[in-house]
């Protein structure tokens, strides 16, 4: 399943992709059959979307994150720093031992 389908639901049968970004006056029309969805960007900012076309547009534009995903990304970053710290400290300890042995 693609990220768009994951966050916005399945593509409607009659869906036609429109070039929204080149039309500055484009207005999204609410779709009563589409249940309101909350989207997040990588920094945790939030937006509500009211139609599949709006949801698809936002997700394609980088609003395809979720709070769970953001937490996981943060945890990955912490892990990276932690492991890098361990690797560096192991290297320094070894270097210190080497100097002492010499």
């Amino acid at each position: 399943m693609s990220k768009i389908e994951d966050l916005c639901g399945e593509y409607p049968q009659s869906f036609i992709k429109q070039d929204i970004s080149s039309d500055p006056n484009y207005v999204f029309v609410n779709d009563p059959s589409f249940s309101l969805r909350q989207l997040f960007d990588s920094e945790g900012n939030t937006v509500f979307v009211n139609s599949f076309i709006e949801c698809e547009h936002y997700v394609a534009g980088g609003w395809g994150y979720s709070p769970i995903q953001n937490t996981e990304i943060l945890l990955h970053q912490i892990l990276f720093i932690g492991i890098a710290g361990l690797v560096i400290s192991q290297y320094l300890v070894r270097k210190y031992k080497l100097i002492n042995l010499k």
Partner: protein, 655 residues
């Protein structure tokens, strides 16, 4: 000073134990939520509260789950780091409770890796440490560091190459971002750095611990590589830097590799199942590239490792470890089969490819009064039967030489006997009886008469095992049994090129028909007609693929290309020769056989009776089992081949 060192060691062990155990207590002290007791009527608590209670909390509320056989603990690797060690769901399936325990691939790497490095640290150190070596030899430092970086890079590349497999296993990892691979590389580098350092400091003793690979298989949960194979890959790269590899042989392998890589233009997925960690999950360009490099470095690394550590080899130490592992495998297998929680932890901490068996009674027979194969701890009953068979053979050899058994052999021998009986590997049982009798009788005055009797009795025993009635079947029936099975599994009008080829051979008669007839007769007596028939129905190579193969550890094309009628399960080829046909083609098999024959005849005066027995034992089992598709067997058998065919056996097997 000494007491300070002991104290430091104690603290180190306690810290490591805490690191390994504490994750399973995750969220234990959250007073707001109490784990519910599961019942046939109600498991809703765990549906509403995924990843809220720890495994230990669950066990406290459901004590029966530790020992009752209708509880099954299973890992769910696709979970957040925060969910590690917590119950992510409970499902009721056919009156059994399946408890899904949340794990995360990054934590798995660190936790399992720490555990295995910790276990390695118990092996006795070399006289000279790598630290001392690096002071004396600066070129070592450069080669070591480069090999380490390249090994880590290669394994990280494997994740990129088999992305389709990992996308289902690593929680919210963006496979298109550089950061993800940088993180994976860093974690892998951290682990391999410690693994290689610990191994280098113990390199001369590591060789005795090869049997332990059957116990600690070391495949990470949610990953498709084995941790300990990294040591050999490292040695493989290091040997290239040291210019200590045989380029004559490796040139041939490189030519084959280039062909395999260039040929892999399609894409076929393969569910690794019980071969996880030692097989490609996808037949694609990048995956073939990785597995070709991996195979090349693994074989060269193994040769480098054997060559450098065989000079002061003490055979008794290897025999002792065979016995120790036999005891541990049987006990852990039995406990795991009877205690679901232990089965779960066996899988995780020993890095198994497949959960241990859950049949609590290893003596069980089926409704036709046939012994049911009991694999216990290991993922394949046949392969573990071979291991027990070797353990018995080595103990008997030791007895013949020393006229007594040491404590390891006295304890291990009955366990190995039981293990072999439980595994129900009849070919190994026959081989062990014949070889053991040969060893025991060879020093007797009446050697010739006794040997004659033993071989006659063994022949009768083989006929009994095969079944007296089967011996009387006509040759025409036997020669076509495999072909009939292949035709049975052929799907509609979809005929594989291999089956087509056999078909033509049958119609035209001649040498091909005769050769295939002999193969079919052997398949019948080895009970392989159906499985090899399915292989023939599946195998659909082009002419060049039939000659050159499709690359090492690549089953994707075999299982993905050609459709066959429904089979009981995935059903592997059950012959390492057939696997090799897929991997290396006819030419590859021919070259391997020529190499072994050349080495055998060149060094035949240096190969003693035990050496010949082990070679024959392995060859027979290669013919009827997938044994080389398991990392532990691959390493152990490669070691035996390399050592027996290249070094003086009298010294090698000296006790």
């Amino acid at each position: 000073m000494n007491s300070l060192a002991i104290k430091k060691n104690k603290i180190f062990y306690i810290v490591i134990l805490l690191i390994i155990l504490l994750p399973w207590f995750n969220n234990l002290f959250d007073a707001n939520l109490k784990a519910a007791e599961v019942s046939q009527e109600d498991v809703t608590f765990y549906e509403i509260n995924p990843c809220e209670v720890s495994l230990v909390q669950f066990l406290i509320s459901n004590k029966k789950s530790i020992f009752q056989d209708h509880y099954y603990f299973r890992f769910s690797n696709y979970q957040s780091i925060l969910c590690f060690g917590k119950v992510s769901g409970v499902t009721l399936l056919q009156n059994g409770f399946y408890i899904s325990v949340g794990t995360n691939n990054f934590v798995n790497l660190l936790l399992q890796g720490a555990m295995w490095v910790f276990l390695l640290s118990f092996i006795k150190k070399n006289k000279e440490s790598d630290l001392e070596k690096s002071i004396k030899d600066t070129s070592f430092k450069i080669k070591h560091f480069s090999s380490l970086i390249l090994t880590s890079y290669l394994f990280t590349f494997s994740i990129y190459a088999e992305r389709r497999y990992y996308e289902k296993n690593i929680y919210y990892l963006n496979f298109d971002s550089f950061f993800s691979y940088a993180l994976l590389f860093l974690v892998i580098y951290f682990l391999f750095n410690n693994l290689v350092r610990i191994s280098l400091n113990r390199s001369s003793n590591l060789i005795y611990y090869l049997p332990f690979l059957y116990l600690i298989y070391s495949v990470f949960s949610g990953f498709n590589f084995t941790f300990f194979s990294a040591i050999f890959v490292y040695f493989g790269i290091y040997s290239i830097f040291e210019k200590k590899i045989n380029w004559k042989l490796n040139r041939v392998l490189l030519v084959f590799s280039l062909w395999w890589i260039a040929n892999s233009t399609n894409s076929y997925y393969f569910n690794p199942g019980k071969l996880r960690g030692f097989t490609s999950t996808v037949y694609e360009f990048n995956a073939t590239l990785f597995w070709c490099l991996y195979f090349f470095l693994l074989v060269n690394g193994l040769w480098y490792f054997v060559k450098n550590n065989i000079q002061n080899f003490e055979f008794q130490k290897l025999i002792n470890n065979f016995q120790l592992v036999s005891v541990a495998l049987l006990i852990l297998g039995y406990l795991g089969a009877n205690f679901p929680l232990l089965n779960f932890f066996n899988y995780y901490f020993f890095g198994q490819q497949k959960f241990g068996i859950n049949i609590g009674n290893p003596f069980i027979f089926n409704e036709w009064l046939e012994k049911v194969s009991w694999r216990g701890f290991y993922s394949s009953a046949e392969s573990i039967g071979e291991f027990y068979g070797l353990a018995i053979l080595l103990a008997i050899y030791s007895f013949c030489i020393k006229r007594n058994l040491n404590i390891y052999e006295k304890v291990g021998f009955p366990f190995a006997l039981l293990g072999l009986y439980f595994s129900n590997n009849r070919a190994v049982i026959v081989l062990v009886i014949v070889f053991s009798a040969h060893l025991l009788i060879s020093q007797s005055k009446y050697k010739k008469i006794l040997l004659g009797s033993i071989y006659s009795l063994s022949a009768l025993f083989v006929i009994y095992l095969v079944g007296f009635e089967k011996i009387s079947y006509s040759y025409d029936f036997l020669r076509s049994s495999l072909y009939a099975q292949a035709k049975f599994y052929q799907y509609d009008t979809v005929v594989s090129s291999f089956l087509n080829w056999i078909d033509k051979g049958f119609q035209e008669g001649g040498s091909l028909s005769f050769l295939f007839g002999i193969f079919s007769v052997m398949a019948y007596f080895l009970n392989r007609s159906e499985i090899w028939g399915i292989f023939a129905a599946r195998y659909n190579p082009t002419f060049s693929e039939l000659i050159m193969g499709t690359g090492p550890f690549n089953f994707g094309q075999l299982y993905g290309e050609n459709i066959v009628n429904e089979t009981r399960s995935v059903l592997l080829p059950h012959s390492s020769f057939l696997s090799f046909l897929v991997f290396f083609g006819f030419l590859g098999i021919l070259l391997i056989l020529i190499l072994f024959s050349f080495l055998y005849f060149k060094n035949r005066k240096r190969i003693n009776t035990l050496g010949k027995m082990i070679i024959l034992f392995i060859f027979i089992n290669l013919f009827k089992n997938d044994v080389l598709n398991y990392f532990s067997s691959f390493v152990l058998y490669s070691f035996f081949f390399m050592a027996i065919l290249n070094f003086r056996n009298e010294k090698l097997f000296k006790l």
